[in-house]
């Protein structure tokens, strides 16, 4: 039986000025999955990374697939200090959508999916790993270089399974 509606905005912000990073903190463990949606631009082209629970250790990795209008490529990075899963640039309104499945379980490492792109530049899909069994209680998101531009929106949703 259906358990009723579930796709709940947890927190949202529209940046009033350029900002190098944004943190969703004190995330409730009462959902099953989290979805982070970023819509906007940067002041220069860059991957957009996440860090969970303020962990700045070399505990992240990623595998990606992207197309730039000419070719499709794939790459990977291991033992990084962040998971660079998204992508935005300065010239096209783009978006990054991160999927955190079972983010509050304390048994598995956290595998994260992301789709991102800027229509005049490239489209990208990524899978990332945070090698920690801790429940995710905060997410920092930031460009690898540069800043989020004014007007960029960041919204965190929670989905609760029956």
């Amino acid at each position: 039986m259906a358990a009723g509606s579930t796709y709940t905005p947890i927190a949202t912000t529209t940046l009033g000025s350029a900002q190098a990073s944004y943190t969703f903190s004190s995330i409730s463990g009462s959902y099953t999955d989290l979805i982070l949606v970023i819509a906007g631009t940067l002041n220069s082209s860059s991957s957009v990374y996440i860090q969970c629970n303020s962990d700045t250790g070399s505990n992240y990795s990623r595998t990606y697939l992207q197309g730039n209008g000419t070719s499709a490529t794939s790459g990977r990075d291991s033992s990084q200090t962040y998971a660079a899963l998204g992508y935005l640039n300065s010239t096209a309104q783009g978006n990054c959508i991160f999927q955190f499945q079972n983010y509050s379980n304390a048994t598995t490492y956290k595998t994260i999916l992301c789709r991102a792109g800027a229509a005049d530049d490239l489209t990208r899909a990524m899978v990332g790993l945070w090698r920690s069994t801790s429940a995710i209680t905060s997410i920092l998101v930031a460009p690898v270089s540069g800043s989020f531009a004014t007007g960029t929106t960041l919204t965190l949703y929670g989905i609760a399974a029956a």
Binding site: A3, G4, Y7, S61, Y109, L113, V127, Y157, A162
Partner: protein, 191 residues
Amino acid sequence: MNPILGIVASSISGSLNASSYESIQTVTVGAGGQSSISFTSIPATYKHLQIRALARTDRASNPQDFLQIRYNSDTGANYAYHSLYGNGASAGGNDTGTSTANPWSAIVAASTATASVFGTFVADLVDYTNTNKYKTLRSLSGIDNNDTNGRLYFQSNLWQNTAAVSTITIQPVYGTNFVQYSSFALYGVKG
């Protein structure tokens, strides 16, 4: 009205109301594993379905496995799939030809992946009650293992049947069981 932009891998466009997305069933695998996951008696009151999962199988000697999603207990060669993937070194694709009984629907982790690593996927089954169309599912799935075994897959599946989907069965393609802590959740999206 809350714009929902987070339904990845979905053909759904525009804005949805948060109240149009409902949890239907969830299965979490316990100790000892489970050979298949079944969502049965799926209500026909939604427009689309979404499956969200975290999974790992017991496939021997491999860090990855695939899972297959089939409908209404149909185990015949009535399915087809196409894949676009990245393996960390190159992009590629594959398909099954015209028909198979074992459609690759998503990639997940398997026995030689690092302990505690699970694959994850989001899959959308669109217009699942329409009796005039074959049913199409598409998914985004991935596993990263902090080494060369990371894989990311876009997959499109076809079930060559016009029946409304009332049952969904998910099984490993190569492994025997999903291992403990694998979790599968079914959601409905209203039209």
